[in-house]
């Protein structure tokens, strides 16, 4: 037991330093003036180095070796914690400190450069930096791959969602690739016959802000332990006791900011609901990025774009902008049409839930090939254009800004992250289908603006579970089945093609 306690104390310190790191990432994206970038990149690299030293302290290895023997007296949470400690140790010790610091510095420098290059479509300037980031990403992947006995790309997938492998992603994505194009055609045809009435702005930013704040609170976000700000790309950061979400506002349309807020609130509820007793231990963290994304998409796509939600929300939204109650454009029916509009577009973050997986499949195919060496960074613009034409019948040949330069991920050194989004969408659909079976009167509660029972169910079944079980086990326990594309497809059919 003493050995285990000594390990907890080590990982507590690591957790505290990760808190520091999380806050500085948030600051960099929301607050930092542009001139602060180079010094910040150095500071973050130094912090990454310190963290790595702490994570690879030989004493942790000694304690873990001792704990093997002493493990018998531990309860299930402690055992799961020990498993996560071992995993963290394996991963950290697989990487030399210099590689960690170099990766951090290269990624932050590349990301900062990308921000300036994207508006100008200046691929040439950022390309060599991206090459370096990808090659460092691969150096990390190869080392992790060796330890885990998997391919480098699997090692990257695994680093974001424990146990995730390429073949599972391919199985899911192949199925979606079969299903979506035909389905999309049907939806577009149907929606063309039944257009939504447009809502005309401007929608003053302060009112958008107040409206967003009201919904965020209604869904269950704890403002005592978090805050909402503006950033270029909406995200959820910070730590469970201080959860930071962001959105961005457009005066001509209130929907993007509102939906981004509701999406990030889903992440935030997960983060704030992680097991309080395990706050500063590995087992108290989120299960993985696919599960994290499932929580944002469950809130945004399953709940907040549903017909029952709009019965509750339409009046609130209309009043926020002094809309005329006799204007049919503000009716729940019409808002539902607006909220579920499907369209082929260039931008992933603006995509609806039908086309979104196609954006992800494109990125998955490219990053997989970057990892096997079948493709190099210089090939990305052409491969992107070709993929967009195949999957979404759109070209980005002369529009790199809205093509391969649109997403921060690769520039920030996050290869292997993209599949989480679509696995999250599948997970969300499957979890919400289970919730509708298990929570009596869920649709009526949502229509009445009562999110308490749903949040209670999420807290008990997902948020409060931390990393006690694997994602696969969690899905089995909560939904009675392995992850599949069926609930997602059923959801899309019911929402977009049912009468």
């Amino acid at each position: 037991m003493k050995t285990y306690e000594a390990l907890e104390s080590r990982f507590r310190e690591i957790n505290h330093l990760q808190h520091v790191q999380a806050m500085l990432f948030w600051d960099e994206a929301t607050m930092m003036p542009s001139g602060g970038g180079p010094a910040r990149a150095e500071a973050m690299a130094a912090l990454a180095g310190v963290l790595h030293d702490k994570q690879t302290a030989p004493e942790i290895g000694d304690l873990l070796a001792e704990a093997d023997v002493a493990g018998g007296s531990l309860d299930p949470w402690q055992q799961a914690n020990l498993r996560q400690m071992r995993r963290a140790w394996r991963h950290a010790t697989a990487l030399p400190a210099d590689l960690v610091k170099e990766s951090q510095l290269a990624a932050m420098t590349c990301e900062q450069t990308w921000r300036g290059c994207r508006p100008k479509q200046d691929w040439a300037t950022v390309e060599p930096l991206l090459e370096r980031v990808v090659s460092l990403n691969l150096a990390v992947a190869e080392r992790l791959a060796e330890i885990e006995g998997v391919t480098p790309y699997d090692a990257l997938l695994d680093s974001y969602e424990e146990g995730l492998r390429t073949d599972l992603v391919e199985t899911m994505f192949d199925d979606l690739r079969q299903f979506l194009p035909g389905f999309l055609e049907q939806v577009l045809e149907r929606q063309a016959r039944d257009p939504a009435l447009p809502l005309r702005g401007p929608f003053p930013l302060d009112r958008q802000k107040r409206l967003g704040a009201a919904f965020i609170k209604t869904l269950g976000f704890d403002n005592e332990h978090g805050r909402v700000d503006v950033s270029h790309h909406p995200f959820c950061g910070g730590v469970p006791d201080d959860t930071r979400i962001t959105t961005r506002y457009y005066e001509e349309d209130f929907l993007p900011a509102l939906m981004a807020s509701l999406h990030e609130t889903g992440h935030a509820l997960y983060q704030q609901g992680l097991p309080a007793d395990w706050r500063d231990q590995p087992v108290g963290e989120a299960l993985g990025m696919a599960v994290h994304e499932s929580q944002s998409l469950l809130m945004e796509m399953q709940v907040c774009r549903s017909r029952p939600f709009l019965d509750f929300a339409a009046g609130v939204v209309r009043e926020a902008f002094d809309g005329d109650s006799d204007d049919p454009a503000w009716s729940p029916d019409n808002l539902y049409k607006l909220y579920t509009r499907v369209e082929r577009g260039l931008i992933r973050v603006d995509a609806d839930e039908v086309t979104y997986p196609l954006h992800i499949i494109l990125r998955f195919e490219i990053e997989k090939k970057l990892c096997t060496g079948e493709m190099s960074v210089g090939d990305i613009p052409e491969a992107w254009d070709q993929g967009m034409r195949e999957l979404l019948s759109l070209s980005t040949a002369d529009n790199l800004r809205d093509g391969c330069m649109q997403d921060v991920h690769w520039f920030a050194g996050l290869l292997g992250y993209f599949p989480s989004y679509t696995l999250g969408a599948l997970t969300a659909a499957q979890l919400f289908a289970a919730a509708r079976i298990q929570i009596a009167g869920l649709d009526e509660q949502i229509a009445a603006g009562d999110f308490g029972p749903l949040l209670g169910w999420l807290r008990a079944n997902i948020h409060g579970q931390g990393r006690l079980k694997s994602a696969v086990q969690l899905m089995r326990d909560v939904t009675g089945a392995e992850l599949s594309t069926e609930p997602f497809k059923a959801h899309l059919r019911a929402r977009y093609l049912a009468d």
Copy 2:
């Protein structure tokens, strides 16, 4: 030379981690939701521990010992850098890691508690926490005192301003204590005969914000490398390449926010102007808190409350609030009267430059006695009331909120800091007197809104000097004399009693 370079590399890493620390302090004061406090305190304590480990790495000791011999080939900046490295090493190694972490944690917890207790005047709750902070502060002071061969209170003074000792503070303060009460009576009498016309609000916050931003920029603040926010107490934080200043707004009066902004801009200009070639080395840091405060007070008191400045600023201020150009209340003369109003008050941060030193003398007397054991934390409320009655003829017996609970410093573990404010005021007066001799046409430039020559002079003589020389040497070089109360008294006489 290799030894020296190895030292630079060590101190570069320490500097990067101090960057991290500075940003989290800023976040805690401006952004953090209240519920994030306990986790943040733990994270900051962990970071303080890491930093302390880095600062006390035995390798630094070995390198410093070697550098003794190799020092001959270093240029003056490198020699000064080495001196500062030695000082940092002496101070860090004097303190055990546990004491550093405990102090950090106790101070942050006490400060967070104080924020809640102050509005309720709940001294009883915060008193035991303050006792702990003071006793940890003293434990630190005693260890530093032993190393430096001084008294514990001198060790605290020295930690904020190298070389500062109680006897110098006492000499200055005794003189002010002689001078100020009589002078204050004369000023009050004179101002009573010549009242200022009041300016009536409300002054909308967005206009105050725009006005402040315009002045901050005009004075020379670099927005590419900094930002302005709101906090409970105005301060300047961050790092040279990312300088964060704060202010606070009141709708009924624009003067406090504006003056706080101009004051913090003085700090910010110093920070942004530190020698760029020495960004991440000890010699590139600010000289000390008294010199830092001299830069804010030079800007606020010497420049921005002067008659020439108001010739420039009155029109800008009037237009910002759509004031009537025929209204004599908006005239430079009347604004000057408003900007130089003197009044006995309870609150240090609201005090004018005549009464301010009396607030500091009160705190100096108390904290000195806390350090010798002549007084304990429990005695503070009564001692405060007694001191206020003696120095300012005001009682705080039933008003602890505006009495001994008004300032964050002691609760945050900053014993020994207060004298910096008044030494800064003396330094500012002496420096500005020198600037007026050395910069031809300074008053006319200020009246024309041209702050370039003054900023250039400050950059060359103070900001860009970093820690190359001692504060004493700097004053000699720039003003031709040691620090004295004379220029400050001359300034007060000229501003408040001249015809």
